[in-house]
């Protein structure tokens, strides 16, 4: 792996913070460390964690890359899946529909950003509108009840294997391993790091920048779709307003995990550890009966603090340049 984005220092810091958080919560109520609670923690974190993986790749690609529509993709995907299930389509195919749907939505983002050259923020802001809206239109605002679906399907989100949540062991971990390989050990990943570091140099070194970036959006879409499917299975309901917070939280996790918001740095490993930390914090808050709004608020604080610390640490002298393509307007793009 070497110096291509893997940051042991940051990961250790996050691990330490996680321990601290656990201790903190435990001192308030040791019950939180029970097996059942840790289990719930893991369950909770898996979905946002998968989405954050996708966000990691998009942000790694640099040049203002970001995806604000991930939550909406998850919602629309699970709605499509729910509708398919209700129509009697067997659940494996329906889950596939969720994944495929997410992939298509990601592709839409990718095309808009690379072919039409619309800035990622505004593109994904708009597609977030569209996907959320479509989910609402298709369901009429009403959640689709899935509790009558076969147990094997519901087990996707509710089952357990070796007393660990199914989705953790059989979906999150394999995805994690695949993505580590993808980001650190494949042609794709290495090229992505180069693209995020210096777009022009990457182009001149024979890397197909646009294609690569488009793929990151496709992958993010696929992963979001998958997360949506899991979430629906877990709750037994496909909701058009699912994962509303996912946009913000996923970005917070990615930045916290050490990825530079400008691209070219960071790793899914950092994202995973940050997911754990966020999962612990979130769960601790809800365990202590804090309204979910607090979770979002804490996420916001963490996000800002993470970037502030990053700025201090790297001594970067970025003025308040907007988070847009810095090379906008030049011939190379």
């Amino acid at each position: 792996m070497g110096a291509t984005g893997f940051q042991p220092g940051r990961i250790l810091l996050l691990a330490a913070l996680t321990a601290l958080a656990l201790i903190g919560f435990a001192s308030g109520d040791p019950g939180i460390l029970s097996g059942a609670n840790l289990y719930s923690m893991a369950v909770f974190a898996v979905e946002i964690g998968i989405i954050a993986f996708g966000q990691t790749l998009v942000i790694c690609g640099g040049d203002g890359g970001i995806d604000l529509s991930v939550g909406a993709i998850a919602a629309l995907s699970q709605v499509l899946m729910g509708m398919a299930l209700q129509a009697g389509i067997p659940w494996p195919a329906s889950v596939l529909i969720a994944a495929a749907g997410g992939t298509v939505m990601g592709a839409v983002n990718g095309v808009l950003v690379t072919c039409f050259r619309i800035e990622p923020i505004i593109t994904t802001l708009a597609t977030m509108f569209v996907f959320d809206g479509l989910a609402l239109v298709l369901t009429g605002g009403i959640n689709i009840d899935l509790t009558t679906m076969p147990q094997t399907f519901l087990d996707l989100g509710q089952g357990s294997v070796f007393s660990l949540p199914f989705q953790l062991l059989c979906i999150y971990l394999p995805v994690f391993v695949i993505l580590i390989a993808l980001q650190h050990r494949t042609l794709f990943g290495r090229s992505l790091y180069l693209v995020g570091t210096n777009t022009l140099s990457a182009r001149l070194t024979g890397i197909r920048v646009d294609r690569l970036r488009a793929w990151t959006y496709v992958i993010a879409g696929l992963l979001s779709g998958l997360a949506g499917a899991i979430g629906a299975a877990r709750l037994g309901t496909a909701s058009p307003t699912a994962s509303e917070q996912a946009n913000l939280i996923s970005i917070a996790i990615v930045v916290l995990g050490g990825s530079s918001i400008f691209g070219g740095d960071g790793s899914v490993v950092g994202t995973a550890v940050a997911t754990v930390l966020i999962g612990v914090v979130n769960y601790g808050l809800s365990y202590n009966d804090f309204n979910p709004i607090y979770q979002a608020g804490v996420m916001g604080i963490i996000l800002i603090v993470a970037v502030l610390i990053e700025n201090l640490a790297s001594g970067r002298n970025w003025s308040a340049v907007p988070f847009l393509s810095l090379a906008k307007g030049k011939s190379s793009g």
Partner: protein
């Protein structure tokens, strides 16, 4: 260096052909972004009139439309300024909720409107200042910073309200801003128009306004030319906050209720209006007139969806589609830099 943005062919620039000043101005307007928007606006009005079987023209509807547009328009002024300098603020929805919550508490405590109204502005400005501090002082990219404050403000709304709602809003609020009319328009709308006119004038004819454009055009050059870049950006965010505060006050006039979800999604409508109006996200280009037209279009779309009995959820889809379309159109008919063309 070879790779700079397209070397221009060596052609001598020709001064424009002479014509009557107003003819030229009209032609430029029609061809430009604003012209396209106006046409779109008219088309929408026609479509909605027909589709709603005339219900569009009912005074109640028009009134609502004017008020909603005003509520969106006023912060849109501030958002235009912010985006012109090259920044952005996606937190104003939560900001609105928070200002409404705090202000509402004062109303609950029995304070009178003349006492609380200025507070709305001040508190909003303070929150705008918070954003500015994080972005300019902390050097956090505007999107990230305001994504963060979006949640933080929303959390604070909950902190202020608890789980309860505020319903004790003096009904005079509604009367003053919504029902009362000044020259056939609700007071709120008049406010919006006045503010827009003032700021359009400001942007066009005052040094500070021109500096805002300069920063968006070429921040480095502006800095070297002695323009106080950081200070101006600070003003922009703070102003946006203050305008959001005003919008909060008006929202309470529209529906005298504050809940934890008040203001959710508001920022998206405002940004949509501004972007639609031709202001480019990269800064340096855009006009208040464009923002006005954009706001009206956004308002019309929302209103039309309701009137034509389209499932309300289509509103979001339409808005997103409009934004994307408008970016494409933007590339064809760019907004003006608001330069003084006489």
């Amino acid at each position: 260096m070879s790779l700079k943005a397209g070397a221009r062919p060596d052609k001598l620039a020709k001064p424009p052909a002479s014509a009557h000043g107003w003819v030229r101005a009209a032609a430029r307007f029609a061809k430009g972004r604003e012209g396209v928007l106006l046409i779109t606006l008219c088309l929408l009005v026609i479509v909605i009139s027909i589709g709603s079987h005339g219900a569009f023209w009912a005074p109640v509807n028009l009134n609502n439309l004017m008020v909603s547009a005003a509520v969106t328009a006023i912060p849109a002024i501030g958002m235009t300024l912010v985006i012109l300098t090259g920044g952005i603020d996606v937190s104003i929805g939560s900001m609105l909720g928070l200002v409404a919550a705090i202000g509402g508490k004062f109303f609950e405590a029995g304070w009178s409107i003349p006492a609380v109204a200025p507070l709305f502005c001040l508190i909003g400005a303070a929150f705008g200042l918070v954003n500015a501090a994080i972005i300019i002082g902390g050097r956090v990219p505007p999107v990230v910073a305001t994504l963060g404050t979006l949640s933080i403000f929303r959390m604070c709304v909950f902190l202020v309200l608890g789980a309860s709602w505020i319903t004790m809003i003096p009904p005079e609020l509604t009367v003053i801003f919504i029902s009362d009319r000044l020259w056939f328009l609700p007071v709120a709308s008049v406010m919006a128009l006045v503010l827009m006119a003032v700021f359009a004038f400001f942007l066009r004819s005052f040094r500070l306004g021109r500096h805002i454009y300069a920063i968006g055009n070429n921040e480095e050059a502006a800095r070297l030319a002695g323009v106080p870049v950081a200070r101006i950006k600070l003003y922009a965010y703070t102003l946006l906050g203050m305008f959001t505060g005003i919008a909060a006050l008006l929202t309470l006039g529209q529906s005298p209720l504050v809940q934890t979800s008040t203001g959710t999604g508001f920022e998206l409508a405002v940004i949509a209006a501004v972007v639609l109006g031709g202001t480019e996200l990269s800064g340096g280009r855009g006009t208040i007139l464009g923002t006005l037209l954009g706001t009206l279009i956004v308002g019309l779309v929302n209103d039309g969806v309701v009137l034509m009995h389209i499932q309300p959820f289509w509103g979001g889809v339409l808005l997103g589609g409009i934004i994307l379309l408008s970016i494409g159109v933007n590339q064809r008919w760019p907004g003006r830099g608001g330069e003084a063309t006489e």
